[in-house]
Every structure is written in structure tokens, then in C-alpha cells.
């Protein structure tokens, strides 16, 4: 359970980063297009940061979450 959650956070974190970067923020499309001056979705950058945060939160989860067996 703990390992699953940890792994999930790591993977999820990277997914969030990738998604927020590539789909929400990155300048895909012609330079003059809206996408170039604005992220497609506001707070794309915040999502990216969230992704980074998730990855490292995995460490917390891994260490802090009590083990089922120790229950």
C-alpha cells in the first residue's frame, strides 16, 4: 500500500510535470498564436511546480506512512 502510493506519487508527479509543460504551457503552434504569449490554461506553471512537489512528497509518504504489518 505505502509503496504503491509512493510510486504513484513519483509517477504521477512526473506525469503532471509532462502534461502541464507540454500540453498547457509549451509554445506549440505558430509563434504569433495565443499559445505563444499565454499558457493554454492559466496556472500551468503552478501545475508544473505541483508535479515537482509531488515527486518529492513521495519521499515523505514512503518514510512517514506506517507499514500495514507494523499495525
Amino acid at each position: 500500500m505505502r509503496r504503491v502510493l509512493t510510486l504513484g506519487l513519483v509517477v504521477g508527479g512526473f506525469v503532471v510535470q509532462a502534461v502541464s509543460y507540454l500540453l498547457l504551457a509549451a509554445p506549440l503552434g505558430i509563434p504569433t498564436s495565443e499559445a505563444f504569449s499565454n499558457p493554454r490554461v492559466p496556472f500551468a506553471a503552478a501545475f508544473f511546480v505541483l508535479g515537482v512537489v509531488m515527486v518529492f512528497t513521495a519521499a515523505l509518504v514512503y518514510e512517514l506512512l506506517p507499514d500495514e504489518r507494523s499495525r
Binding site: 509563434p31 504569433t32 495565443e34 505563444f36 504569449s37 499565454n38 499558457p39
Partner: protein, 245 residues
């Protein structure tokens, strides 16, 4: 759709700097701010001296470094070729300024009230100006322009944001040419649709050899110069303006 550009005929430029003044009055720019600037240059040694003049608006580059580096998308490229500054968006980090090889960006160092040359709060003036500063305030600058309706004409000149030549977006969207172009006493400045082969600018570029400033940097400017050559290392500036605030 039209994609605008400027062609400057150096064979006609007398370096009178009327374009600078037309820009300053039209755009109400603060002290020591020159969205349009005219260099006065000197080369060679007496008596083989060469003196010439070079107007420097924003180049509205197609590959604009300032647009690339802007962290919040306040500086952006419009479909019609203009490089615009959303003064409601700008956070004043001045990254665009250090990225621009042409030195066209001007930061609002002071609050506008303090940046207009004279104290316009004179009581005898109030009845006439009803508090406007400067008295020649141009209301068009406060408008929103472009399909996104962003505040890109530089109205208000709020403290702490960056600004530069807008190609007079508020005029262009009304079908007028930029203030500097319309005023040039020698008709050295030309403005129009570079994509339209019939436009005056395109014809001019076909007729005369031309260059763009710092092409080697790869910025792909939309401002072309005909007549004369680009400045070189040995080119000295003479008669600079009052720079500091």
C-alpha cells in the same frame, strides 16, 4: 491579413528628430524616454569625415528575443507583425530589455505624475487641463487593442512596467500610420503591409537596396533601411540626448 513593417530611407533623413517629438507627444512618453530615437553618427577623420543619421524605432522582430524571454507573456507578437507590450501584464522584471540587442525598451522608473518634465498641477492650469498630466494626454492610449483586447498602447505609463515603440497600434487599428511616419518632414519613414507586393513599402524595397539592423543576431526585424549602410565599430555617436532621469 496585413503584416506591417517600416522602411526608412536614409538618403532622406536629415536627423531632425521630429519623429522623436511626434512620438513623444502622440504617445505621451515620460522624460528621457524615446520609443523612437534618431542616432547622429560620425565616421572618418577631418577632412574626410562622414556624418549621417539613423532613426531607431522598435524593430518589431519576427524572431524577437524580448518575446521569447518574457516570463509572463506581457511581451508578445501579434498576427499583424507588431510586437506588443501588455502593460497590465508586465511584472517589470526587465528581462526583455537585457535580451533586446537594439536598446528600445524603456522602464517607467518613476510614477507618471513625477515624470512629465514640469509640474502640471499648477492651479491656474487646472481649469483648462482638469488635472490631466500631461495636458496633451492622448485618451486613445488607454484603449484595448488586438483580438485579445489587451492594453498595449502604453496608456498611463504606470510606474514599474516596461514599454517601447508600439508602432502606434492605436493609430494602426484606426487605419492611420504611426505618428513618426506621418510627421517626417522629409518623408523618409514609410509604413505599410510588407506582405502586399503593391504596398508602398514593398515597392520601395524592390526599388532600392536595403539592409536591416544587426541581422547577424537573427532577430529578423520588420524595419528595413534603404540608402546608406549599417553602423560599424568605428561609428561614433554625436549629439546624444539627455539620457538619465
Amino acid at each position: 491579413m496585413a503584416r506591417y513593417g517600416m522602411v526608412i530611407d536614409l538618403d532622406r533623413c536629415t536627423g531632425c528628430r521630429a519623429c522623436m517629438e511626434a512620438c513623444k507627444v502622440e504617445n505621451n512618453t515620460p522624460e528621457a524616454t524615446f520609443w523612437m530615437y534618431v542616432f547622429r553618427f560620425e565616421e572618418g577623420q577631418f577632412p574626410n569625415t562622414h556624418q549621417w543619421y539613423l532613426p531607431r524605432p522598435c524593430m518589431h522582430c519576427d524572431n524577437a528575443p524580448c518575446v521569447k524571454v518574457c516570463p509572463v507573456g506581457a511581451r508578445f507578437k501579434r498576427e499583424d507583425g507588431l510586437v506588443a507590450t501588455d502593460t497590465d501584464r508586465c511584472i517589470g522584471c526587465r528581462y526583455c530589455e537585457v535580451a533586446c540587442p537594439y536598446g528600445v525598451n524603456y522602464f517607467n522608473w518613476k510614477s507618471p505624475k513625477k515624470a512629465y518634465y514640469l509640474d502640471w498641477n499648477d492651479p491656474d492650469l487646472q481649469p483648462v487641463t482638469n488635472g490631466d498630466s500631461p495636458p496633451y494626454r492622448n485618451p486613445d492610449l488607454d484603449g484595448r487593442y488586438g483580438p485579445e483586447g489587451r492594453r498595449t498602447a502604453g496608456g498611463g505609463h504606470a510606474k514599474g512596467v516596461i514599454e517601447k515603440c508600439t508602432f502606434c497600434v492605436h493609430r494602426v487599428e484606426r487605419g492611420l500610420k504611426p505618428a513618426c511616419v506621418v510627421n517626417c518632414p522629409l518623408f523618409a519613414l514609410h509604413f505599410g503591409d510588407l506582405d502586399d507586393p503593391e504596398s508602398e513599402v514593398s515597392q520601395l524595397l524592390r526599388r532600392k537596396p536595403h539592409f536591416r539592423l544587426l541581422e547577424e543576431v537573427g532577430t529578423r526585424p520588420r524595419v528595413y533601411y534603404t540608402g546608406g549602410n549599417p553602423p560599424v565599430a568605428a561609428t561614433r555617436q554625436i549629439e546624444p540626448v539627455k539620457g538619465r532621469v
